[in-house]
């Protein structure tokens, strides 16, 4: 009786899996038909042409607002944590809450840093469509570069201050964020609990990125088929997906062989 149970649950799982595949195929069929209709739509093409000039400055505005809001919030949380650290007598356990706040500046600054790469490229590409001619185009190029440089400098400053505070609260931590060896030094100063947390977080990230890559492949493939975006986006998504999956799997293999 015990031997049959695993087979029944396997069959059930297989049926659910096949059901999901079939449903995905049906949904994909209708999404593809819809994308085909959209691609042929003249109204959409006209709308896009009308939106482009406004989009150039709108994207720049979004770029600026994103930086101000996210970096402002990051600074606020860092200040909170700093005040708590100054009040800490070294004995009380209240510092744990303040310390957990320090992950927010790191999250926000990393998000800003990566988003900056997108916005920098987007503003550059859209600049030629701006409604103010050549002057507007050059102004956008200059502003784009200026915001990018200032933002990256602020990101570095905030991350350095955050890590300095972490090191103040945890003197055993090593590593300078401006150093190329930072990640290696930091990891070597982590104890068993921290390494376990890093491992679990890496696995969770790997699962999320795999799902996101699948969704992005679908979008870039439909874009390639119906909106003539070319194979490059599909290629980029697959490269990221492969790099992530293979590096994770190979790292696990090295650990199993005791070579970590």
């Amino acid at each position: 009786m015990t031997e049959q149970k695993p087979k029944k649950s396997d069959r059930k799982t297989l049926l659910i899996f096949l059901g999901v595949i079939a449903l995905s195929a049906v949904v994909g069929f209708f999404v593809g038909m819809g994308a085909d209709k959209l691609a042929d739509s003249e109204a959409l093409a006209n709308l896009w042409d009308r939106l482009l000039p406004a989009l150039s400055w709108a994207v720049f505005a979004a770029y600026l607002i994103m930086n101000v809001v996210c970096l402002g919030l990051a600074w606020r949380h860092l200040r909170h944590a700093r005040r708590a650290a100054q009040r800490w007598d070294g004995e009380s356990e209240d510092i744990d809450q303040a310390e957990s706040e320090l992950s927010i500046p790191m999250l926000l600054t990393n998000a800003v840093m990566i988003s900056n790469f997108f916005f920098f490229a987007a503003v550059f590409v859209l600049a030629e469509h701006n409604p103010f001619g050549k002057t507007g185009e050059i102004a956008l190029y200059i502003l784009d570069i200026a915001v990018f440089c200032v933002s990256m400098a602020l990101v570095l400053v905030l991350q350095k201050k955050t890590l300095d505070l972490v090191k103040q609260l945890n003197p055993e931590k090593k590593g300078n964020i401006l150093d190329a060896r930072f990640q290696k030094d930091w990891l070597s100063s982590c104890d068993e609990a921290e390494r376990q947390a890093i491992g679990e977080a890496a696995f969770a990230a790997m699962k999320t990125v795999s799902t996101v890559c699948l969704a992005l492949w679908l979008i870039s493939f439909l874009g390639c088929l119906f909106f003539k975006t070319g194979l490059l986006p599909v290629f980029c998504v697959v490269v990221i997906w492969l790099a992530q999956t293979l590096s994770y799997t190979l790292a696990c293999r090295r650990r199993e062989q005791g070579k970590a």
Partner: protein, 70 residues
């Protein structure tokens, strides 16, 4: 978690704070805090180090309670 610990009592008896305890056993203050809260179960090596520093047996500091489902 099935592991019940009395680390805080032993630490207070020793007269050290979490940071000092961490330094004594080669781990971070955060890990000591997580162990005391029951959010982390130490490895055998770390548990032995802690017991050694507290002049106690591992079983005195960490108790394993059987889960009802086991």
């Amino acid at each position: 978690m099935p592991l019940v610990n009395h680390l805080k009592e032993y630490r207070v008896r020793l007269g050290v704070n979490q940071q000092e305890m961490g330094a004594l056993v080669g781990t971070s203050r955060q890990t000591i805090s997580q162990i005391e809260r029951g959010d982390y179960s130490p490895s055998v090596t770390l548990a032995l180090k802690i017991a050694h520093r507290c002049n106690a047996r591992v079983e005195d500091i960490f108790e394993y309670e059987e889960d009802e489902n086991d």
